[in-house]
Subunit: 390 residues, 2 copies
């Protein structure tokens, strides 16, 4: 019997940090966040806010030394300082070791390969000549990827033909960054599966989510995914294996591809709650954020059971507008039954910036998708310096 | 199409205020709270905290003048100042008018009577002689009640026999406070129904909750209540009528009695989210707190549909202990599936102080109640100045 009233440190006070904090505060935890932005989405919800850069080692040390456990909302963090703090006895979840393997796509895939987990063929490349050889091996199109630092499609380049190689090479750091080539997998659906592992090794796997991206940014998540029972089971088993292989503690998201034959491949692993898991707040017994907080504070995990079919749509800042954010159409959107609105509280809207999302629960995914489409069309988030009508 | 990004002012930063704020922040609202306690449960979740007494008219005015809408988490507020602010054009929900009628139990019941809504017989009393006459009219036992300021059984006195009258009279203010006598209604169950009305008059009614009190403090809420379909319909219709009669805007809770014959009487109306409605956070499509925030910000209401049978248990500070609060047994409690823990974040635990609650969802109320009993027994909240084992 341990006193639950621990202090949680979170690196990153964006929307994922904010939603973690909402659940942490529900259970009465003390929360300290590290984020360079004074008015980050989490700023009004925390007990303490360390305003410092994410690579400020002193600030990260301060966070770890003044809390009982440290977690993070994104994976581009200096894993070495986290590892050092771990060696000094601080609790960091997910561990620095799993973060280190995951934050480099090459080492991440190497580990998947080592344990025979299906993933597209890949190889490290160091020159344009290497890329050319990869193209000969994999055929066109194929992918060129930065090993580190990518998100929302940034750091990825689709090489359609040999002539693209020099541009791809230049775009991805011109030899200054680690890059890899990857065979193109002809998928018919992108899916993701959330899984959480507690400190005792118990693993809970969420239902399979179907994801639709627009311009490489997640636009829509539908749950349950429109795939067969067998494919669903395959994907959930795969997510569980990933949690074992990476020795994850906390919430992980495993992004996967499904092809026509029902084969499932791991595309990428994220060691944190994920945009494609926001649906869990309204539609599952335990949300991904509560699950994560439970895992890192040594509490038992909750049920990931889906209560209702659900669709999530991201709300991005409108094109041709920037500045102080303004949210229009909430009245129209919320008049549709089953619609829930999340506005992250980012001060400024910018084109394609993730400003919020809607979750829609209904009796079927089709119904939820239809309502979500209407609600999304009603909602506009723009920056007041320029009208979205421009 | 109105910009949703309004400022909400809340009088009271206790657990009800905190849970309102959690939902308000989800939707991106700016929240200012007025509470005299620097470390009230809401204090880390707000944009601004006015530290002032609840009867500080200047502070209430400041709150109203710097927000778009004002609400409150308890009803013992100076309704005159709210009325004045309303006359000046400020939005106060629920309105000062409905607050004024409700906060005095006598005027509250008079209004119910006027609209033929069933409530126990009552009369105003001004002397011990009046009380004696009430006893002759109603028979023993009967109730003596303060017209204002009571909660959790405070302000109520059960007069079992004529000899109790002088003590009851003394206890309830010795003639200095308004009091009333009420016929004792031999109920077999206490129930409550939450209802919410938006600014356009749309009313949403929640399922009927069965409440069990211990020492006049709510201990357990079970939903759906173990009553017939007809009684359920009667109770829900009654709650709807109450919302119409009181012209409520926002969430109201109607506490009722049910007798052996299935008659339903209104006991008391609270113009705010209610302890017996905490179950809605996990078990309903829309929580009572989100519903309240939607109503007062002129947004359409959500569905009150129950997703799963549910039981709520309050967590009170342990006897024989006080001081800095300490929560034990969360690991054991959360190991039971379907259990959710809310800790309000009150700095100090005191005997019988409401420190948190658990919600348990399951496939039946019986199952949920059994799990809730186990979870509640595992959890202990005590003040560290004295051990709960004393």
């Amino acid at each position: 019997m341990e006193n639950i009233q621990k202090k949680i440190g979170i690196i990153g006070g964006g929307q994922l940090g904010k939603m973690m904090i909402q659940e942490a505060k529900k259970m009465g935890f003390y929360v300290m966040v590290l984020d360079p932005a004074e008015k980050c989405p989490a700023h009004t919800l925390v007990d303490e806010h360390i305003i410092a850069d994410f690579d400020d080692k002193k600030a990260i040390r301060f966070l770890a030394e003044n809390t009982d456990v440290v977690t993070y909302e994104f994976e581009h963090i200096d894993a070495d300082i986290l590892q050092k703090l771990e060696q000094e006895g601080k609790k960091i979840y997910p561990t620095a070791k799993s973060l280190k393997v995951i934050q480099n796509k090459y080492t991440q895939k190497k580990l998947l390969l080592e344990y025979n987990l299906p993933t597209p063929e890949f190889c490290a490349v160091f020159s344009q000549e290497d890329i050319k050889q990869a193209g000969e091996k994999y055929g066109f199109p194929f992918m060129l990827k930065s090993c580190t630092g990518g998100y929302d499609g940034k750091g990825n380049f689709v090489i359609e033909k040999e002539q693209d190689i020099s541009k791809a090479y230049e775009t991805l750091g011109n030899g200054k960054l680690d890059i890899m080539a990857e065979k193109f997998f002809h998928f018919i659906m992108e899916i993701s599966v959330l899984a959480c592992r507690d400190i005792n090794g118990d693993i809970q796997v969420y239902p399979v989510a179907e994801n639709i991206h627009k311009d490489s940014i997640l636009d829509e998540t539908k749950v349950p995914a429109n795939i067969s029972k067998q494919t669903t089971q395959k994907a959930m088993d795969l997510a569980k294996r990933v949690m074992e292989v990476f020795e994850g503690v906390g919430m992980f998201c495993v992004e996967m591809f499904v092809n026509k034959q029902g084969n499932v491949l791991v595309n990428e692993v994220a060691p944190r709650p994920h945009n494609s898991g926001h649906y869990t707040i309204e539609a599952c017994v335990t949300s991904q954020f509560e699950q994560h907080i439970r895992a890192i504070t040594a509490l038992p995990l909750g049920s990931p059971e889906l209560l209702k079919p659900v669709v999530m749509r991201n709300l991005l800042g409108e094109q041709n507008s920037a500045g102080k954010s303004c949210v229009l159409g909430a009245d129209e959107a919320l008049a549709i039954s089953g619609v829930f609105l999340h506005i992250y509280g980012k001060e400024e809207s910018r084109p394609k910036r993730k400003m919020g999302h809607i979750t829609v629960i209904a009796d079927s995914v089709e119904q939820a998708a239809e309502k979500a489409e209407k609600a999304k069309n009603a909602l506009k988030i723009y920056g007041e310096s320029k009208s979205f009508l421009d």
